[in-house]
C-alpha cells in the first residue's frame, strides 16, 4: 500500500489534475502538494503527495554522481 506511481500533470482544474502515467491517464487530487502543469508528481490512493524533482534526479542519484565513469 505504499503503492504510489509517478506521473506528469497535463492539466489542473481546481482540486483535480489530469495525470499521465506513461500513457495511462487518470485524475488525481492535488490539494496536498503545490504543483503546476508539466510537473512530475507521485500519486498515492488518488492524491498527489509530492512534486518530483527534475528528471535528472530520477537517474538513481547520489551513487552515479559520485561514481560516474
Amino acid at each position: 500500500m505504499c503503492l504510489a506511481f509517478p506521473g506528469k500533470i497535463i492539466s489542473i482544474k481546481g482540486d483535480q489534475a489530469v495525470v499521465d502515467f506513461g500513457g495511462i491517464i487518470k485524475n488525481a487530487n492535488v490539494t496536498l502538494a503545490k504543483v503546476q502543469v508539466g510537473d512530475f508528481v507521485i500519486v498515492h490512493a488518488g492524491f498527489a503527495i509530492q512534486k518530483l524533482t527534475d528528471e535528472e534526479a530520477w537517474d538513481a542519484i547520489k551513487f552515479y554522481k559520485q561514481n560516474e565513469g
Binding site: 500500500m1 505504499c2 487530487n29 498515492h44 490512493a45 488518488g46 492524491f47 542519484i61 547520489k62 551513487f63
Partner: protein
C-alpha cells in the same frame, strides 16, 4: 538500468560486504520494497553475508484482528462499508468483508477516498474503513473534513520501527526506510533510531543503491539517516499533509497485529469530528461485539513474520492449508504480504 551501472553497484556491494566480513541483517519495512526485492530476485544477487528480512510494512498485515472483526461486524449489521481493495479478503472471526458481501452486506471497493465521498451521497450511512500509515492518513483526513464517516485504524509507522528495535527479538543492522511514509514525514524523525537507515525509492535500481548505501555506512562505522529517494523525499517531508492529519486526528495507542499495543502509534479521530467517528457513531452496534480470537488463527504465524522473527516457510500452514487462494492470515491475503510474496515467487522446482 544500464548493465554497466548495475554490475558496478553489485561489485561495490560485494567489495564492501567482504570488507565488513560479518553477517549483517537489513530490514525492509515497506511492503512495496518487499515486492521489488522478490520481483527482481534481489536476494539472490547479494553476497552471502548480507541478509534481507521483512518487517511490518504491509498495512493490511498489521491491522489487528479485532479491527477486522469490528468492521465486518458493522457490515453484517447492515451498515454500508467502503474500503481499499486489499483488506477485503482478510479473515476474522466473523469472516472477511468479502464473505460478508457475498452474504448480502453492502461492501464497496474503492481506489480513492473521493469515490467514497461520492458514494456517501446515495448511501448516507456509509462508513469508510480508514487503514494505512502516514502516507494514507492525509487522504482520510481530507475525506473526514468533507463529511465522510470513518472507522479509523490508521497508524504512524515510526513507533513500530522503535518497538522492533526495543523488543530486540531480531538483530537489525540497518533499515531500508519506507519511501512514501518518508515523503510525508521527512528525514528528521528517524534520527532517534540508533541504527543505519537509508530512505529508499521503489525501482529496482533504487533498492540496490539503498542497500549499497547501507552496507557502506556499516563498513565505515557510520550511523546516519541517508536519503536515496531524493526525487520524492524532502528533508521536511510534506508539511501540508501532516498539518491535515493532525487537524483531524490525535495520536493515541495503536493496536497492531503481532505487536499488540504500541503507544503513540495510532491515529484517533478528534472529538471535534466525533459525529464522523464510526467507533462513536455506531457505539450501540459495537456494544454487542465480543472479541474472540479466531481459533484457527492460533496456527497462523503472521504475527511473528511481521516482526521478522520467522520466515513464511517456517509456518506449518504455509503452502498447505494457507495459500493465496485460501489465505488464513493477512500476510497471505495482501499482495505485499511476506507470505503471499514468498509463495508466489519462491522457486518451486
Amino acid at each position: 538500468m544500464r548493465d554497466k551501472r548495475k554490475e558496478k553497484i553489485l561489485t561495490e556491494i560485494s567489495l564492501l560486504a567482504a570488507k565488513l566480513g560479518r553477517e549483517v541483517k537489513l530490514m525492509e519495512v515497506c511492503g512495496s520494497h518487499t515486492q521489488v526485492i522478490w520481483r527482481y530476485g534481489i536476494r539472490g544477487l547479494l553476497p552471502a553475508n548480507v541478509k534481507l528480512t521483512t518487517g511490518p510494512g504491509c498495512p493490511v498485515c498489521v491491522t489487528a484482528q479485532e479491527d477486522i472483526d469490528l468492521i465486518v461486524f458493522l457490515a453484517r449489521a447492515g451498515i454500508p462499508v467502503a474500503s481499499y481493495g486489499d483488506v477485503l479478503r482478510v479473515p476474522g472471526f466473523y469472516g472477511s468483508l468479502e464473505e460478508a458481501k457475498k452474504e448480502g452486506a453492502k461492501v464497496f471497493t474503492i481506489y480513492s477516498v473521493e469515490e467514497a465521498i461520492a458514494l456517501k451521497k446515495t448511501l448516507p450511512d456509509l462508513v469508510f474503513f480508514g487503514l494505512g500509515f502516514d502516507t494514507t492518513a492525509p487522504m482520510t483526513a481530507y475525506a473526514i473534513k468533507k463529511g465522510l464517516t470513518v472507522f479509523s485504524t490508521h497508524k504512524l509507522f515510526l513507533p513500530a520501527m522503535e518497538a522492533l528495535l526495543e523488543m530486540g527479538e531480531v538483530k537489525i543492522d540497518g533499515f531500508i526506510n519506507p519511501g512514501h511514509v518518508s515523503t510525508i514525514i521527512g528525514i528528521a524523525p528517524y534520527k532517534k533510531l540508533k541504527v543505519p537507515q537509508v530512505i529508499t525509492g521503489f525501482t529496482e535500481e533504487d533498492v540496490l543503491v539503498g542497500i549499497y548505501m547501507l552496507i557502506k555506512q556499516l563498513a565505515e562505522g557510520r550511523v546516519e539517516v541517508e536519503n536515496q529517494y531524493l526525487r520524492s523525499v524532502r528533508p521536511d517531508g510534506n508539511p501540508t499533509a501532516r498539518k491535515l492529519i493532525f487537524e483531524v486526528f490525535r495520536i493515541a495507542d495503536g493496536l497492531w497485529r503481532g505487536f499488540g499495543k504500541i503507544p503513540g502509534s495510532g491515529l484517533e479521530i478528534k472529538s471535534k469530528f466525533k459525529n464522523q467517528d464510526a467507533r462513536h457513531k455506531y457505539k450501540n452496534i459495537f456494544k454487542k461485539f465480543v472479541f474472540k480470537e479466531q481459533r484457527q488463527m492460533k496456527a497462523c504465524r503472521c504475527s511473528e513474520i511481521i516482526r521478522g522473527l520467522s520466515r513464511p516457510t517456517t509456518c506449518p500452514l504455509f503452502g498447505r492449508a494457507c495459500n493465496p487462494d485460501k489465505p488464513f492470515g493477512p500476510c497471505m491475503v495482501s499482495v505485499e504480504g511476506a507470505c503471499n510474496l514468498e509463495y508466489r515467487f519462491q522457486d518451486k522446482s
